[in-house]
């Protein structure tokens, strides 16, 4: 266990996962959607919401597998994570479609796509490596999801403005996106100072 279950500890896990070790900008997880759907702020926001949601489901699945199944067969870790997470997300998607069509519409195509995103499997693996319990896992997933959403929305904001600017021809497209992401990442480095204060 990574410490006792105090509010302070949980807040620290949340802050660490959302800004200090931001999944997108400092672990490079989930870069494909980060570059793919960060064209407009509202799409980015919805993508982020779907991400938070899938991360929560993943965290619960991973906790369940870690405590009941995997002690007996550790070599099945990767396979079972992927298969269980993908199918659970599918089931949840069907349930949402039935129970709340509005929410389903808001999340849209992003929900199934996210399942194959490296941020999701990364979350499950980090949670396992750090031996988080149930509550810690959920807080960690929430923090990571908020962090990814934050990065997506910031990136989308910058890119919307950037559309209007005159960028040199060789820089247009992917190159510019990477440079913007680099600068954003540089800004997030500033949060690293929080580590020495509380750790």
């Amino acid at each position: 266990m990574s410490g006792e279950l105090t509010i302070q500890n949980l807040v620290w896990i949340f802050v660490a996962a959302s800004v200090v070790n931001n999944f997108t900008l400092s672990y490079f997880l989930g870069l494909c959607p980060f570059l793919g759907v960060s064209g407009r702020i509202d799409t980015a926001l919805r993508m982020g919401m779907a991400n938070i949601f899938v991360m929560l489901v993943t965290s619960i699945c991973a906790w369940f597998l870690n405590s009941f199944v995997l002690p007996h067969a550790p070599y099945l870790r990767l396979i079972s994570f992927i298969v269980v997470i993908a199918s659970t997300v599918q089931f949840v998607e069907m349930a949402i479609k039935k129970l709340s069509p509005d929410l389903f519409k808001a999340l849209g195509i992003f929900l199934p796509l996210i399942t194959t995103n490296c941020a999701i499997l990364g979350l499950a693996l980090f949670q396992t490596n750090r031996a988080y319990g149930f509550v810690e896992g959920i807080v960690f997933a929430l923090g990571a999801g908020v962090g990814v959403t934050l990065a997506l929305v910031l990136m989308a904001g910058v890119r919307e403005e950037n559309e209007l600017a005159s960028v040199p021809e060789v820089l247009r497209g992917a190159a510019m996106s990477f440079l913007i992401a680099g600068i954003l990442s540089l800004a997030f480095m500033g949060f690293a100072g929080l580590f020495s204060g509380s750790a």
Partner: protein, 214 residues
Amino acid sequence: MATQKDSYEELVKGFWKENPVFIQLLGLCPALAVTNSAINALAMGIATTFVLVGSSFLVSLLRSLIPKQVRITTFIVIIATFVTVADFTLQALAPLVHKELGAFIALIVVNCLILGRQEAFASRNKLGPALSDAFGMSFGFTVALFMLGSIREILGSGSMFGISLFGPSFEPWVIMILPPGGFLTLGVLLMIFAWMKKRREEMDASTSTMERAA
């Protein structure tokens, strides 16, 4: 003869014309996350090569047995199996590198490059072309990773494979081995490639107009 030439083309296309990282922008997460030193980049490249070649081999062999509806799931299970093997092998042979790479070895499973090659190539082609395609793509991936890793290590710690290049007076550009350096290096490399492509096109255009004038 014709098939031999085709295989050769499948092999070299991954290196430059369809380079997975620089042209197709696939497999970016590991490409940026583990390239803070040349040795890590190389280890990641080799592990990915093993997984890609192994799964292309199996998928191509089994392609007529895999039902269309569940093919993606089947591919993922095959890939995950090879990744588990790679993970345990690396842990046994090079525990230090394994510790550096951490969860990123396991994350090869969700590398879109590998699944993409299975879906687009290995499941539709015979063993020969599928293998040369897998080798070509993973070679291109390894080279791209190695390029990123060397640039970042030379600028960020002033060394190559851990051997100091410039002596103690060198002030390392630390940001290059930190996360922002990955984004910036790839951005600058992409810019250079776009510039080279543009120049080549301009030169082609000018020679063709000259020919027409003559």
